[in-house]
Subunit: 373 residues, 2 copies
C-alpha cells in the first residue's frame, strides 16, 4: 500500500521505518526541503495551500495520514475528496485550538483545569480574575514544546504576557499543582478496535519533553486514563494513534492536552513494547488487526535536544537502543532519542546508572540527567 | 555517514532500516531494477563490471559493505582503491569457492566433512571413490538455497548429477548424518572487537531455510562454535557480521559453510536480541562500539517463501513481529519473515500454537508448520 504522510519530520520518519518493515511505501508532503523523513520515500515539497501539489500527493497514494497536528484543515478537507484521511479533519479541529479542545474535554466529562477564552485585553483581565492567579496564558493555536505560553502570578506578569502574546487568540487556564505528568497512548482502527499502552510518566525541561518512563507506576489511575482516552477515540470515531497528556493530581487525573498523532511520549514503545505506537498507527489506518500494546519490562526514553551525543561514548554502554533522526544540530531541536530497557524498574535504575557513566560529560548537556536524580 | 551497499535485496533493506534509525544514509548498487532495498536510498542500477557506475557509487559514499557474497572480487578490488570495503575481497574469495572455503576451514583446524575437488568426469569418479557413497556433489561457486548440488548414493546417480552439473567446477563432500543444523553469527569491528550471538537452530526444506529458533539449546557445543567463528574472524582480520553454518553431530560440530554477511539465520535478532545482526554489522563497519548480542527470551523465526500470508489472519495473533520485504510473489522466493518471541522455550511453544491457529490454512502453504511438528 502507498501511504501518504502530511509532515515529514521525525514522526513521519519513524512511521516509515516501521511501515517499510510491514511492506508499505511512503510519500511525504512537507514544506521543508530538508524534512528528515524524505530519506524514506518520495517527498513532495510544497505549502499546505498548494492545491496542485496536494492533488498530486493524493493521486500518488492509497490513503493519507499525518505526523503533524497543525496541518491546516483546509488541506485535509481538500484531500479527503480524493482519498481517506486518517485521522480526519474533525480530530484536527479539536486538537488545533485549545479552547475547542478543552470544551470537548468538558463535554465528555473529562476533568481539566478551569479555562476561559481571551481575545482582547479586557477579556484577558476578566478571565484571569475568574480563574485566579497563578494561571497560564496560552495561545489557542500553534503552541508546542512550551512555546506560546506564560505562567502569570500577578497583574505585572499578566501585562508582560499580553505584550508577548497579544497578536493571538488566547486562553487562560488555571495553574494546577500536579504531582507528575502522565500520558496515555491509545489507538483505534478503521473498524473500531481500540487498544491502549501502559501509562507513561514524562518529565519536561523548559517546556520540552526530555525523558519518559513506562510503564508508569500508576495502578490507581490507569483505568481512569484509559476511560478518558477511550471516550475521545470513540466520540470522534477516531482512526490511528492518539496521545492524551494528563496531570496526576495524586490519585485523580486532569487532561492537559491531546495530540491526534504518534507522540514523543510513546517513543519508548519502539523498544519497550511488543508493537510500537508507529506500527499500531499504521495497522489502525490500514485496518489491519492491532498489535499487542504490552510492555516488555520497563523502559526509559531520553530525548537528545540540540545535538546527538558522540556514539563512541554513549554506545560503549552495550544495551542502548539508538535513534538518530538524521537532523542537523540546532539549539532546542529534538534530534534523536535513546531507549534503555530492563526487566523491571530496579534493574532499569541500575542500567541507567551504567548508561550515565558511559555518557560522562555528555549527560549534562543532554538534559537527561534529570531522569537520574 | 553515507554507506554504500553492494546488493540491494532484503538483507540490504534490513541493513538500511536499522542504519537509518542510527542516522546513516544509504546508496545501493544492484543490477536488478526492482531491488527491494531501493526504497531506502539511491539505487545505482548497473552490472558489477561497469567501472563508470562503480566509480560513481564509490564517490557517493564514505564506506562500502555488501549484502551478497557473490559480488565479483574484481568489483571489490576496484572499489577498494576509492573507499574502504568491509568485509573485503579476501573474505569474499574464501566464501565464493567451496574448495577454498573448506581448505580454509581445514587450515584453521575447524572440522568439516571430507572433501575433494572434481573438475572433470575422471576426477569426479576418483573423488567419489575416495569419499565413498553417499556423498554430495556441489558446484564450487554460486550455489545457494540448495541450488547447484546433488546427493548421490551410487554410480547411476553420480552419472545423472554429472549431466546436470558438468559445466561447473565441482567439489565432492562426504554426506554427513547430523543431528541438527546450527549456525553462529559473529561480528568483528574495524578495531578488532568481537561478539557472538547465541547459537541458532535451523530447519531447511528443499534446501531453503524455513525456520530458525534461538537461543538453541546447545550448552555442550556453544563454546566450540564460538571458537571456530572467532578463528575465522581473526584470521581474516574480518570486518562486519559473518555467519558460520554448522552440523551438530551429537555433541561435536562440523563446519558446513560460511557467509561473509548478515544471514537469514540471524533474522531472529531483529526482535529477539538487544542489538540486531544488522545494527551490529553497521556498528562494526563504522567502527562504533558493538551492541549487546544477548537474546531477550526465546525467538522463533519463520520465512515466508513465495508469497506473504494475509495479514488479516496472521496478525489476528497480536504478538507477531512482521517483516515484509516488499518483493513481488514468486515461487521459491524469500519474501518476508515473522518473529515470534516469548520469555522462554515453553512459553514460546504456546505462542507458536496460537500463531498457527491464526494462520489457519496459510500455515501449511508457508512450510512453517515444520517448526510446530
Amino acid at each position: 500500500m502507498k501511504i501518504g504522510v502530511l509532515g515529514g519530520g521525525q514522526l513521519g520518519r519513524m512511521l516509515a521505518l516501521e511501515g517499510v518493515r510491514l511492506g508499505q511505501e511512503f510519500v511525504f508532503f512537507d514544506p521543508a526541503p530538508d524534512a528528515c523523513a524524505g530519506q524514506l520515500g518520495r517527498h513532495i515539497c510544497a505549502d499546505y495551500d498548494d492545491e496542485a501539489a496536494l492533488t498530486e500527493f493524493a493521486e500518488a497514494v492509497d490513503l493519507i495520514t499525518l505526523d503533524f497536528e497543525n496541518v491546516p484543515t483546509a488541506a485535509t478537507d481538500f484531500l479527503s475528496a480524493f482519498k481517506p484521511v486518517r485521522p480526519g479533519s474533525q480530530a484536527l479541529r479539536m486538537a488545533q485550538d485549545r479552547l475547542t479542545e478543552k470544551t470537548f474535554f468538558s463535554d465528555l466529562q473529562i476533568p481539566c483545569p478551569l479555562f476561559s477564552p481571551a481575545s482582547d485585553w479586557q477579556q484577558l483581565q476578566a478571565s484571569c480574575r475568574e480563574i485566579g492567579y497563578p494561571c497560564v496564558i496560552k495561545t489557542r493555536r500553534m503552541g508546542y514544546d512550551g512555546k506560546g505560553q506564560a505562567v502569570v502570578h500577578n497583574d505585572d506578569e499578566l501585562a508582560k504576557a499580553w505584550e508577548t502574546l497579544k497578536d493571538n487568540d488566547l486562553i487562560v487556564e488555571a495553574f494546577v499543582e500536579f504531582k507528575r505528568e502522565l500520558s496515555i497512548i491509545g489507538v483505534r482502527s478503521v473498524s473500531g478496535s481500540t487498544a491502549f499502552y501502559p501509562l507513561t510518566e514524562n518529565r519536561h525541561k523548559n517546556g520540552i519533553l526530555i525523558t519518559s518512563f513506562a510503564p508508569a507506576v500508576a495502578d490507581d489511575v490507569r483505568d481512569e486514563a484509559q476511560r478518558y482516552a477511550g471516550k475521545i477515540l470513540d466520540s470522534l470515531e477516531y482512526c490511528g494513534v492518539l496521545a492524551l497528556e494528563l496531570f496526576d493530581m495524586g490519585g485523580r487525573l486532569m487532561a492537559n492536552e491531546m495530540a491526534p498523532r504518534v507522540h514523543n511520549s510513546g517513543h519508548w514503545t519502539l523498544d519497550g513494547a511488543v508493537t510500537s505506537q508507529f506500527e499500531n498507527h499504521l495497522r489502525a489506518v490500514m485496518d489491519w488487526p492491532l498489535g499487542s500494546t504490552n510492555a516488555i519490562g520497563a523502559t526509559a526514553m531520553m530525548n537528545w535536544i540540540g545535538a546527538m551525543p558522540d556514539p563512541a561514548n554513549a554506545l560503549s554502554y552495550p544495551n542502548a537502543r539508538w535513534h538518530d533522526y538524521g537532523k542537523k544540530p540546532r539549539a532546542g531541536r529534538k534530534v534523536g532519542h535513546v531507549n534503555i530497557c530492563a526487566d523491571n524498574i530496579l534493574a532499569l535504575q541500575a542500567e541507567l546508572g551504567k548508561f550515565a557513566m558511559a555518557l560522562g560529560e555528555q549527560l549534562k548537556s543532554s538534559g537527561a540527567d534529570a531522569f537520574l536524580r
